[in-house]
């Protein structure tokens, strides 16, 4: 066991909102927890639920998807697809042995850097409360 739980959160950030908001948070020097590892995607609708599960299977303590506000999707309705999938992920995570609190989807616009940092803070606190991902010390190789 590790002496101190240093969580890692994978965040799939839409290029047009979440990623830009994270960039802006940097410009504004807004400090937030260092557990976040951002993966840039073109649209939150690009994220396959399998990818979320894969991250958890590989030991991520939390997974976030950050997409655009409704009606602001760069690709008409990709964020709505992502929301529908998120509902599915929420429902299925328990089936696969994870607390569904380990997953969070949120909507932002590119200017909402503070909201971004706040959300990361919330998620960080959440995974600290949940404790380490049960898979974090083992690689059960569920998905390739």
């Amino acid at each position: 066991m590790r002496p101190e739980h240093k969580p890692k959160i994978i965040a799939f950030c839409c290029n047009w909102c979440g990623y830009a908001a994270a960039d802006l948070a940097g410009i504004q020097r807004i400090q937030y927890p260092d557990s976040l590892r951002i993966i840039r995607v073109m649209c939150s609708g690009m994220v396959h639920p399998e990818m979320v599960l894969h991250a958890l299977n590989k030991g991520a303590d939390g997974v976030m998807i950050i997409g655009c506000q409704l009606g602001e999707c760069h690709y008409i309705d990709g964020n709505e697809k992502a929301m529908a999938r998120a509902e599915l992920i929420d429902e299925l995570l328990e089936d696969f042995g994870f607390e569904n609190d380990r997953f969070l989807i949120t909507r932002l616009s590119s200017s909402e850097s503070e909201q971004f940092a706040r959300t990361v803070g919330t998620m960080h606190k959440r995974v600290l409360e949940l404790g380490p991902n049960p898979n974090s010390n083992q690689d059960n190789g569920d998905t390739p």
Binding site: K8, I10, G26, D34, R37, G45, M46, V47, K58
Partner: protein, 895 residues
């Protein structure tokens, strides 16, 4: 040396050497020569140049005069905020807790002087009661103010109030206003949301602010809607200051020799809203009158279109083409080069790059790691090119800032080195790491290692990609032959692009045929005649009368639209760009006895009666205008923008013809925005009586023995008022084109909740539709007056011309690619594609067996990857974001 920071509205200090603001372009330091001891001659300081690792400080640099010969000038000097210091009884400059709206903007900004916390300037205590006072320096005929409406301050105040409330839900916010001028697209809804958020809007204009006690509190005396006098105290009062043109701009205009109108705004015609009084000089933005961001952006594009048509013969005479070495064939073994940028000390101050270098060098695919001071500087880019060539690097990772700002630059760099530009990955260790974990260098260093490992893992899997090019059909289709459509068509044809203009009736002019005068009194019919003649005579324009759009397909650069014309012929028009200018429709009133009581008419009908001097008008002695008929109600939750000005204009005419006439205007908010306010003032002077009513207390119209009576609640007398009227004129609003929904689905674009076409971005891309190559202008977009329609038409044609001026367009290679080995045509991805870019495909293999696949139309595909997120077999992937690459990143981040 410190001095007040202008960007933070002097609420904080800055140094002599400084970055103007966080989003400045270019994001480099500059030296204030008045303040710098070295430059102003008061000392021998050279600390900045000693400290600069790039040796970039040059004290000898001086201002230079350049002469540039140009064919056209676009003037966009903008505006200055009104300075309330020493004016009125606002106490600005005397009372610490009275600030202006631009200062409020800084207080709310997280990179502002208080890091986004709303603190009173007097004692830095959190604000509990906040008030906004509107119309400071605007709608104020006193010598120290301006008579016009600044047009943007109502929305600014609501926005600031909303942000303040969002940050602190305990905060009490009050806005004191005269008329809430939220006349823009979607603005009324925003206003309603603000009211729902418990922001208090009080219709009252306080006359001054006084201190309440010694602790910095402020007192305002107001009158509530019941006429009671009140005293209220606040912690902080924001003065919503207006826009004005100040001396430097006036001097600039006089240098350019262009004419400025009243209040020093550049004078323009409604028909040529971006042309100055001098040929070849175009103007845009708030220089010609107060306007908001989207209108300013539209005018910017419109000015470009106007200049482009003037300079048509010289197009492309000054452009140069970039020459690149041939791209190397892909090598067998992956050799990744990693460049660690210090970004001066923005990164290296927090992240231990030495540790990072050690941990990255041992990765299997990494063959070289180089630390660089500034990754984006010219010498580093040359170094990258050298190392790619000398070490045979074939994958590049740049660990620096954001790919959103710098990926294009580094792609170009490695392309110049002969490497395919897609063999690049950036690790954002500045914006996402050193800047946001500045207090924990160890954690930031660990994270940087992870971020770079992720990039290394992903770049390994990248393959060279060639971006496709597509020929552009250099013609345009304009749907709608109203003022907007004709203006766009003429401009594009003048720029040399043939235009097909599709008009649904047998006549050009659209809604413009019902208009007589613009707000500033210019006559519309002759102008429309001129436009009609220009369109019909123009060799570059083909008009299709009585034509409707039946079908649409294709993509930017090559659309094919099917129309049916008056002879019932179907024809397919191919075009590179399309402008939707299908206009709107007048709303027919269904209240106030319209259609039942003979004296009740709609505004358009009244105009006709008035012009032909109908007996009902000429003999009438009492006229009542009722505003917001078919606007701002439950079914039409938007402002039609033009009706207030129109009614006021008609009222003025009636009064001018006979001052003894009684003319009433019953209104909800008087929205004579911008310079139109002068009409409102003129009407007041002439004795037009304005009576405010609210949505819940609409006027009642009754007719008895041919006498019409209007009953309305009088807010000053506090009792119902009965007005005997000869005529009631209903200011009926503007409806969307009933065909908009059908057209939108044909062209794969959206309509908004009110039925108008939805632009790609309400502020930044006001005339672009979400489908590339298609644009919207005029009433199809939202209700607006003629000069704004013309601006938009020109803006749309400028945007279309940026596409049409290219013979071919280079398509981004970031698109969905089908993996034939795993795709089996299950078709789950077909319907999810927002652009209908995916179609089923059947193939027959060597054994004669049939297989199913899907095919991606790369012209339509935008690379959003919604298909990738759907496919259960990972058989469709977006270049640069493949399932494999994203998975590799996940694993690298967690190992």
């Amino acid at each position: 040396m410190a001095t007040p920071d202008e960007h933070n509205r002097r609420l904080s200090d800055r140094r002599a050497i400084h970055i103007a603001y966080a989003q400045a372009v270019p994001l480099t330091y500059c030296i204030d020569s008045d303040l710098c001891l070295h430059l102003n001659g008061t000392g021998h300081c050279s600390r900045c140049s000693d400290a600069c690792p790039a040796d970039a400080v040059d004290f000898l640099m001086s201002a230079q005069e350049n002469t540039i010969r140009v064919g056209a000038i676009i003037m966009a000097p903008g505006f200055s905020p009104y300075n309330p210091q020493g004016k009125g009884s606002w106490g600005y400059g005397v009372l610490d807790n009275v600030i202006t709206s631009p200062e409020m903007e800084r207080l709310l900004s997280s990179c502002g002087p208080t890091s986004g916390r709303l603190l009173r300037p007097s004692d830095n205590r959190p604000v509990k009661q906040l008030a906004f006072i509107q119309c400071i320096g605007s709608r104020d005929p006193h010598p120290c103010g301006h008579g016009y409406c600044s047009s943007v301050c109502c929305m600014t105040a609501i926005k600031e109030a909303m942000i303040a409330r969002d940050n602190d839900c305990e905060l009490e916010v009050t806005v004191f206003y005269s008329d809430m001028r939220t006349h823009g697209k979607g603005f009324d809804r925003y206003f309603q949301r603000a009211s729902d958020k418990q922001i208090r809007f009080t219709r009252c204009r306080p006359h001054g602010i006084e201190p309440a006690g010694k602790d910095g509190a402020l007192r305002v005396r107001t009158i509530n809607e019941q006429g009671r006098q009140l005293e209220e105290t606040f912690d902080l009062i924001v003065l919503s200051v207006g826009l004005e043109i100040q001396e430097p701009t006036i001097q600039l205009a006089s240098l350019a020799g262009i004419h400025l109108g009243p209040e020093h705004f550049a004078s323009t015609s409604s028909f040529q809203p971006v042309l100055s009084s001098k040929k070849g000089i175009y103007i845009c933005g708030a220089f010609s009158g107060p306007k908001n961001i989207s209108l300013s952006i539209e005018q910017g594009s419109a000015a470009a279109a106007a200049a482009a048509s003037l300079l048509m013969s010289r197009r492309d005479t000054k452009t140069r083409k970039l020459r690149l070495p041939p791209a190397q064939p892909p090598a067998a073994a992956v050799k990744t080069g990693v460049f660690l940028c210090h970004c001066g000390n923005n990164i290296s101050e927090t992240i231990n790059l030495e540790t990072v270098r050690k941990q990255i060098s041992v990765l299997k695919s990494v063959s070289h790691v180089e630390e660089v001071l500034f990754g984006c500087s010219q010498d580093t880019r040359e170094l990258i090119i050298d190392l790619v060539r000398s070490l045979g690097l074939n994958r590049i990772v740049i660990a620096a800032c954001s790919p959103k700002t710098h990926e294009a630059l580094f792609r170009r760099t490695i392309r110049e080195a002969g490497l395919n530009e897609y063999l690049l990955e950036m690790a954002n260790i500045r914006n996402h790491d050193s800047w946001v974990h500045a207090l924990d260098p160890d954690a930031a260093t660990d994270k940087a290692v992870d971020l770079i490992k992720m990039a290394v893992a992903a770049v390994m899997l990248k393959r060279p990609v060639t971006a496709n090019t597509a020929a552009v059909k250099q013609t345009a289709l304009v749907v709608g032959g109203g003022v907007t459509g004709m203006t766009a068509a003429i401009n594009l044809a003048d720029q040399g692009f043939p235009v097909d203009l599709v008009e649904k009736t047998d006549r050009l002019g659209g809604n413009g045929l019902n208009l007589h005068r613009t707000w500033n009194g210019e006559h519309v019919p002759p102008y429309i005649k001129k436009l009609q003649a220009q369109v019909l005579d123009h060799p570059g324009i083909t008009v299709h009368f009585c034509a409707t759009v039946l079908d649409a397909g294709g993509h930017a650069g090559n659309f094919h639209t099917t129309i049916r014309d008056h002879k019932e012929h179907r024809r397919i028009i191919t075009h590179g760009a399309g402008i939707i200018a299908v206009g709107g429709k007048r709303s027919l009133p269904d209240e106030y006895g319209y259609g039942k009581i003979p004296g009740v008419v709609a505004a358009v009908e009244f105009d006709a009666l008035h012009i032909y001097n109908d007996i009902r008008v000429s003999r009438g002695s009492s006229f009542v205008f009722i505003q917001c008929v078919g606007s701002r109600d439950e079914t039409h939750n938007y402002c039609s923008r033009v009706c207030c000005t129109h009614s006021v204009q008609s009222a003025i005419e009636l009064k001018k013809e006979d001052p003894n006439r009684q003319v009433y205007i019953l209104f909800r908010e008087m929205r004579t925005y911008g310079l139109r306010e002068s009409l409102y003032n003129r009407a007041l002077e002439l004795g037009v009586i304005f009576i405010n009513y609210e949505q819940f207390g609409k006027p009642k119209v009754k007719s008895h023995d041919e006498q019409i009576t209007v009953e309305v609640w009088d807010h000053i007398l506090h009792r119902p008022l009965h007005i005997m009227a000869d005529m009631i004129i209903l200011a009926s609003g503007i409806l969307p084109n009933p065909d908009a929904g059908r057209l939108a689905s044909l062209f794969r674009v959206n309509i908004d909740e009110d039925g108008f076409f939805q632009e790609a971005h309400p502020k930044l891309r006001p005339v672009d539709l979400p489908t590339d190559g298609l644009f919207v202008a005029g009433l199809a977009h939202a209700p607006k007056p003629i000069e704004e329609s013309i601006s938009q038409a020109l803006a749309a044609s400028a945007r279309a011309a940026t596409l049409l001026s290219q013979k071919e367009i280079c398509l981004d290679a970031v698109k969905a690619v089908v993996d034939d080995k795993h795709c089996d045509g299950c078709a789950l991805c077909i319907d999810v594609c927002p652009y209908q870019a995916i179609t089923p495909l059947e193939t027959i293999d060597a054994d004669g067996e049939q297989h199913k696949l899907v095919a991606v139309d790369t012209m339509r595909c935008t690379g959003c990857g919604i298909c990738q997120g759907t496919c259960p077999k990972r058989a469709i992937n977006v270049v640069d974001f493949t399932y494999e690459q994203l998975t590799a990143k996940i694993e690298a981040a967690l190992n």
